[in-house]
């Protein structure tokens, strides 16, 4: 059949769909002819930064991506798959939805959640937890409050209705995110190892079906033009590229999908997110080394006059592309009918390595799938990089020049800092308990029981201090991984694997690319040392506007395993009279700290010092103390330093338990608020102190007894003296006060 093009394709058309001149030349070479309009649209979206990872894939391949527990290699399937023993595996992944959320916060965030949930259940896994990592500009600006409110409502709307508990996350506020908030959504699912599905178009002659929603004009160019470019004054006009989510539709799609996979009728399946039918058909064929005949006239449409180009690029939500074993069509239909989920055959798998797309009886695209797909023919670039100029200034900043304020005043300000203050305003809008697995959201990581394996639990967390990464991308990224692992260890779990969401500015900016290169190197080294390989994730470049890039933000989502769910640990103090110990070394210094930003308005210095050997020793010690049931609480020292860590332990106690802390006479600001890494504060019953002291001799990092748990009061060495009630009130009211009157 002769190829039909509704528009004549020229270099200019190629540029309009987001391709570069060189890329267009490359496409001409691959095809040996001029592409049709539909084809150039498909190349545009498949070779976009968002889908092709063209500027990141080479570096991502340097990350450790295998380990004894990993059942699929990173990038091979829609999410990572980690063996947790007893026949079960955990699928998990984090992904960004920054650009859509920046212009339409509610739907942008909602569909971000929807997309990551589909990545999980397309593998046959039932989602059991959602997390999110959010960054906004400061809340003194109305626009930022609007974005914050909209994003939180959107996440809640989708997750609550779908029926997945949102169990953990982080929220930070920093000027650099004002125009470009970061919305990273993570999902975690469970699947029996024998019941997983693969994203490959297997089996020549098998029918190809769309399961789920009909296809509309929403989301066209979402991945290629919105998510792969910076923000400018025209971005608002791209609001129609943001998809609209239907969590109810997704819930039905979940049940139908899991039942289809369980029934054994599925040969291959991939969800349709970015680049819709283009991406799912080409990636599934590229993986199976097959082809497809697809008749777009059969695709259920929301508007009948949609062109082939529009249908191929639509990012309508709640859709799956499913290859069904031939002969099992009726069984598949019956399952979908049961759940009232539409299922439509749109084509079949072919032997030849070509995807042929027809519309109105005309051949509109005929492409080799491997030339489109990530890791195949899609471009892979080495980008030039150079050390950012700002680092000279931030590294050499003379911290002796800062104006300090009395420690008790600083303490109050930090307690009220929205980065530190209670996120109750956020998390109470999320259903954190549906599916009745949530054992704890009061520790450094969330803990969920695994009903399928009695006694076993998992821990999940997300982490990244982007200020550290900005000031030292290599060390900052290491710390992000290490802190995630520390959080996992503090609840009694063993860290086993990570997923990452790498949010950076424009990769064509050499300074941004240097940040990226260094961060990937730091992350890789930390993951190797901690034994937590990368199972997959997502890269989001072009997070910048008006020539300001966001802080480099490599968010880490980490999974840990708890073999005995009776031995989980939480952060809050437990009983009056318990002894408080600090484990880890105080290295002093206010560099990169929340104190410096919140009190002095300065982001400067180097990232805190970090020694991996100390970190590993800390993990060994904390794990042992939990396993041997010596300690009754554990909380790591992070933003706000030791003073804030102790305050949080009081706030998180059930009975307004405080502490009497002795840090010597007149403790320094550095000691109270410095953010030295690899430190954890524990408390233990006095009856366990002898046992603890025996262990203490063998600990290779400093251990100091710093105080005792008391009722109602919170005192640090005469410089901080308050009631726990006051702590709670300051900590809890900060964000609600900032959001007041903005409904």
């Amino acid at each position: 059949m002769e190829l039909y093009s509704e528009l004549e394709v020229t270099k200019d058309v190629a540029l309009e769909v987001g391709l570069s001149e060189n890329e267009y030349e490359e496409i001409l070479k691959i095809l040996g002819r001029t592409p049709t309009y539909t084809e150039i649209g498909i190349y545009g979206v498949m070779w976009s930064e968002h889908c092709s990872y063209k500027n990141s894939i080479k570096l991502l391949k340097t990350l450790p991506r295998s380990g004894a527990r990993l059942l699929v290699e990173a990038g091979q399937e829609n999410a990572g798959l980690v063996d947790i023993g007893d026949g079960y595996a955990i699928a998990f992944k984090i992904e960004s939805h920054n650009h859509p959320s920046a212009i339409e916060p509610f739907q942008g965030a909602a569909t971000g959640v929807g997309g990551i949930l589909r990545d999980i259940f397309t593998m046959g896994a039932r989602p059991i937890a959602a997390l999110n990592s959010l960054r906004f500009g400061t809340l003194d600006k109305a626009r930022n409050r609007f974005l914050f409110r909209g994003v939180v409502e959107g996440i809640g709307h989708y997750g609550n209705c779908f029926g997945v508990p949102t169990v953990a996350g982080e929220v930070y506020f920093e000027d650099c995110y004002s125009d470009n908030p970061l919305i990273n959504a993570m999902a975690v699912g469970i699947v029996h190892k024998d019941k997983t599905a693969t994203a490959a178009a297997l089996g020549v002659g098998n029918p190809v079906m769309i399961v789920g929603s009909s296809t509309g004009r929403d989301g066209i160019h979402g991945a290629s033009l919105l998510a792969s470019r910076e923000f400018d004054e025209k971005t608002d006009e791209m609001r129609p590229t943001v998809q609209v989510g239907d969590p109810f539709g997704e819930k039905l799609l979940l049940e139908a999908t899991l039942e289809l996979i369980e029934a054994g009728v599925v040969a291959g399946i991939q969800d349709m997110g970015a680049a819709g039918i283009s991406c799912s058909t080409s990636e599934m064929c590229a993986k199976a080394k097959t082809g497809m005949e697809v008749d777009l006239d059969k695709v259920p449409l929301r508007e009948n006059d949609m062109s082939a180009y529009e249908i191929m690029l639509s990012e309508s939500q709640e859709r799956m592309l499913v290859v069904i074993h031939k002969g099992m069509e009726e069984k598949a239909k019956a399952i979908c009918n049961k759940w009232d989920v539409p299922l439509t055959t749109i084509g079949e798998v072919t032997k030849e390595n070509i995807i042929n797309i027809t519309r109105h009886g005309r051949l509109v695209a005929s492409l080799e799938p491997s030339t489109l797909a990530l890791g195949g023919g899609a471009p892979q670039y080495d980008r030039a990089s150079k050390q950012p100029a700002y680092l000279e200034e931030t590294k050499n900043f003379d911290l002796s020049l800062i104006e300090k304020i009395p420690n008790d005043e600083a303490f109050t300000k930090l307690l009220r800092s929205p980065d530190i203050a209670s996120k109750r305003w956020v998390y109470e809008q999320y259903d954190s308990q549906v599916r009745t697995n949530t054992m704890s959201i009061k520790g450094d990581a969330a803990v969920l029981r695994i009903k399928e394996i009695p006694g076993k639990a998992i821990a999940v967390t997300t982490d990244c201090n982007s200020r550290y990464v900005y000031l030292n991308p290599y060390r900052g990224a290491m710390i992000a991984v290490a802190e995630a692992a520390r959080n996992i260890v503090c609840v009694g779990a063993e860290p086993v694997a990570i997923t990452n969401c790498l949010n950076f500015g424009n990769p064509y900016d050499e300074e941004v690319y240097w940040q990226f290169r260094q961060a990937v190197r730091g992350m890789g080294n930390a993951c190797r040392a901690l034994g937590t390989p990368v199972t997959g994730g997502n890269v989001s470049f072009h997070n910048e506007s008006q020539h300001r890039a966001v802080f480099p933000t490599p968010t880490i989502g980490m999974l840990g395993i708890i073999d005995d769910s009776n031995k989980i640990m939480s952060a809050g103090f437990k009983s009056p009279g318990d002894i408080i110990y600090l484990i880890g070394e105080n290295r002093g210094g206010l560099e990169a700290s929340e104190f410096l930003k919140e009190i002095c308005g300065i982001v400067a210095g180097d990232a805190p010092l970090f020694e991996m050997d100390d970190e590993l020793e800390l993990h060994r010690v904390i794990s042992m103390l939990i396993r041997e049931e010596i300690i009754s609480s554990a909380h790591d020292v992070s933003e706000g330093g030791l003073a804030i860590c102790l305050a949080e332990k009081a706030i998180l106690s059930n009975d307004k338990l405080g502490a009497d802390i002795d840090l010597g006479s007149e403790p320094t600001t550095e000691l109270l608020f410095g953010e030295s890494q690899s430190r954890v504060v524990v408390s233990l019953p006095s009856t366990k102190e002898n046992e603890f002291k025996k262990i203490q001799e063998k600990i290779k990092i400093p251990v100091s007894r710093i105080g005792v748990v008391i009722a109602d009061s919170f005192k640090i060495s005469g410089c901080i003296d308050s009631t726990v009630e006051w702590l709670i009130s300051e900590y809890e009211s900060a964000i609600p006060n900032l959001m007041k009157g903005n409904k």
Partner: protein
């Protein structure tokens, strides 16, 4: 005794209710499908679980009320069978006319998920027989539209007939405005019908029926129901 848990499209606490009843309470439990037009014999209590039936489009519970199974649920209730609606299930029961009043949007206008305390107001029912009046239960809520409302006359009837089973309260049992998570009239969290066989409540007892979840106060409701049948 045997429980049946209805699965509407969009129910998402159906598995949780099933688990609490079958594993935690150790009762014979089965699922009922929304398209079914027959309730299997031997079912003693039907649970309408939480979730977002039919996406809660139009109005919470407004579409679920027209599900084929609901005709049977109404028939079952009218013939004396026990029916319990939790959260979205409560909303369905008010839409179906099995319970009076309605659930409005929370006064905060936001979804809220947190632990609350319930003051048991009447223990002379099948659902509360193992409790004492004034007992305080810790049970979570998770809803955007749980603000119970009815006209004054209806509220007066509910109160005077002792048909308010649970009121939101503080940890010490005090029923006050601060402990009301959604703006419900008179802190009403759960009510019963005139024949005292249909209960609707916004909090989720199935979530706290297991010590592993940190609290098992909710199981008292299911155990009360079971006890009823042991006596018979």
């Amino acid at each position: 005794m045997k429980f049946g848990v209805v699965m509407f499209p969009g129910s998402n606490c159906d598995h949780d209710a099933f688990y609490a009843l079958s594993v935690n309470a150790g009762k014979d439990t089965t699922y009922l499908w929304h398209k079914d037009t027959v309730i299997p014999s031997g079912i003693d209590c039907i649970i309408l679980p939480g979730g977002f039936s039919y996406g809660d489009y139009l109005r919470c519970g407004a579409i679920a009320r027209f599900s084929p199974i609901m005709n049977e649920v109404i028939r079952f209730a009218n013939s004396g069978g026990y029916v319990m609606g939790i959260c979205n299930g409560f909303q369905v029961l008010t839409e179906a006319g099995l319970l009076p009043g309605t659930l409005l949007r929370n006064s905060s206008l936001s979804f809220v998920c947190k632990d609350i305390f319930l003051n048991v107001r009447n223990n002379n029912t099948a659902f509360t027989s193992l409790m004492q009046v004034g007992d305080v239960l810790r049970i979570p809520v998770a809803h955007g539209e749980g603000n119970y409302f009815a006209d004054t006359e209806t509220i007066n009837i509910l109160e005077s007939e002792n048909r308010v089973l649970f009121k939101y309260c503080a940890a010490d049992g005090a029923i006050n405005e601060e402990s009301n998570p959604n703006g419900s009239v008179n802190n009403i969290a759960g009510i019963i019908n005139e024949k005292r066989n249909v209960l609707g409540m916004m909090p989720h007892p199935e979530r706290y029926s297991d010590k592993m979840m940190g609290c098992s106060d909710g199981i008292a409701i299911f155990n009360s129901l079971s006890k009823q049948f042991e006596i018979i």
